[in-house]
C-alpha cells in the first residue's frame, strides 16, 4: 500500500510537464470512474440517480484538476459544482417530483438511434483529430507559474486582477442579473393567483357559487366536553351531521345527557307534548 501512496504523492508533487507513474495510475482510475458516471447519468431512468452519477463524475474531475497542478480549480470544482450546483439540481428535482421519470415515447422517429450515431461519430472525430495532432506534444508544465512564493492561487489572482480585470467586473454584472432573473421568475407566478378578499367571498357565497351559504357548523361545546369530536346539537336535540368532522373517524360514543328542556315552560303555557311535567305542576297547584 505504501509504495502506491508514495507513487501517487510523487505524481502529484511533480513540478514538470511529463506524466509520472503515480499520475498515470490516478488518471486511469479517476478517468474510468468519471466516464462510467457520465454514462450512468445518460442511461439512468430515475432523474435523482442521474444527478448522483453526475456528482460522482464531477468529484473525479475535481481530483483530476488537482493532479494537473490546478489545486484551486479542483477545490472550486468540488465546492461550487458538487456542493452548490448539484444540490440545487436535487432541490429542484424534489420540488418537481422525484417520480417525474422520462417518457419512453419517441416523438421523432429514430431520434435516439440518430443521436447515438451522432455521438459515436463525434467521439471518433474528436479522438482521431486530437490523437493525430497532439500525440507527440510535450507539456511545459506549471512548475514555474506555480512557484512557491506566489503559488497557484496567487498566480490566478494576479491574472484575474490585472489582465482579466474587465471580464471579472462583467462577471459581477452577470451574477446580479442572474439573481434578479431567478427572483423574477420565481415570484412572477405567485402574483397571478390573486387572493380572494372577504367581500368577494361573501358575494360569491350569496350568488350560490359555494355549496351552502353559511359556513359549516362548529363542534358543540358543553360543560362536559370541549373536544372537537363533540357534535353540535340541533334545536330538537338530535346531532347535526354536518358538525361531525370527517377527519375524526370515531363517532362520539357518549352523547351528553341533556335535560329535556321545554321552551314553552318559560312562557308559563303548558307544552303540548309534555304531559308528565304539566301533570306535576297541576298537582303542586292543588
Amino acid at each position: 500500500m505504501s509504495p502506491l501512496v508514495t507513487l501517487l504523492a510523487q505524481g502529484v508533487a511533480e513540478t514538470g510537464g511529463p506524466v509520472g507513474l503515480g499520475e498515470e495510475i490516478a488518471f486511469w482510475v479517476l478517468g474510468v470512474v468519471a466516464l462510467s458516471g457520465a454514462l450512468g447519468m445518460v442511461f439512468a431512468r430515475n432523474a435523482v440517480h442521474s444527478a448522483l452519477f453526475l456528482v460522482m463524475t464531477m468529484l473525479c474531475l475535481g481530483a483530476l484538476y488537482m493532479v494537473q497542478q490546478a489545486p484551486f480549480l479542483g477545490f472550486v470544482q468540488i465546492i461550487v459544482y458538487t456542493g452548490a450546483v448539484m444540490m440545487l439540481f436535487l432541490f429542484v428535482l424534489m420540488l418537481v417530483g422525484r417520480d417525474s421519470s422520462d417518457s419512453v415515447v419517441e416523438v421523432l422517429r429514430g431520434q435516439r438511434l440518430a443521436g447515438a450515431i451522432f455521438g459515436l461519430a463525434f467521439v471518433v472525430l474528436l479522438v482521431g483529430a486530437l490523437a493525430n495532432s497532439l500525440a507527440s506534444v510535450q507539456a511545459v508544465g506549471l512548475g514555474v507559474a506555480n512557484a512557491p512564493p506566489i503559488g497557484n492561487v496567487g498566480g490566478i489572482g494576479r491574472l484575474v486582477f490585472t489582465q482579466y480585470l474587465f471580464p471579472f467586473e462583467l462577471t459581477s454584472a452577470l451574477l446580479i442579473t442572474a439573481a434578479l432573473g431567478a427572483m423574477l421568475l420565481a415570484f412572477s407566478q405567485s402574483r397571478n393567483a390573486a387572493k380572494k378578499g372577504q367581500r368577494a367571498t361573501v358575494e360569491a357565497r350569496l350568488r350560490g357559487e359555494h355549496d351552502r351559504i353559511s359556513p359549516l357548523p362548529g363542534p358543540g361545546v358543553f360543560a362536559t366536553a370541549n373536544s372537537v369530536a363533540t357534535p353540535a346539537l340541533l334545536p330538537d336535540g338530535s346531532i347535526a351531521p354536518e358538525s361531525l368532522s370527517a377527519l375524526i373517524e370515531s363517532a362520539p360514543a357518549d352523547e351528553p345527557e341533556l335535560p329535556s328542556v321545554d321552551a314553552h315552560a318559560l312562557t308559563g303555557a303548558p307544552a303540548a307534548g309534555a304531559d308528565t311535567d304539566s301533570e306535576l305542576t297541576e298537582e303542586t297547584r292543588r
Binding site: A70, F72, V85, D102, A114, L134, V140, Y164
Partner: protein
Amino acid sequence: MTPTYYLLLSAMLFSIGAVGVLVRRNAIVVFMCVELMLNAVNLTLVTFARINGQLDGQVMAFFVMVVAAAEVVVGLAIIMSIFRTRRSSSVDDANLLKY
C-alpha cells in the same frame, strides 16, 4: 502517456453530454448533460494550461464555472416556472410556440 489523454477523456465526456442532450426528454436531465459538457471543456482548458505552462487556461476555466453557476440558477428557475404552468418537466410538452 502524455497529457493528450486528458483531452481524449474530455472529448468522450463532451460527446456523452451531447448525446444526453439529444436523447433525454426530462428537462432537468438535459440540463445536467449541459453541465457535463461544460465540465469537459473545463478539463480541456486545465490541460492546455498545463501543456502551455500558462495559467490563462485556469483563469478561463474559472470564468466558465462562474457563468455556469449563473446559468444554472436562471435555467432551473425557468424549468420551475414551466413546471408550475404545464405540470410537466418534459421538453416535449413545452410546445406552445409550435403552431
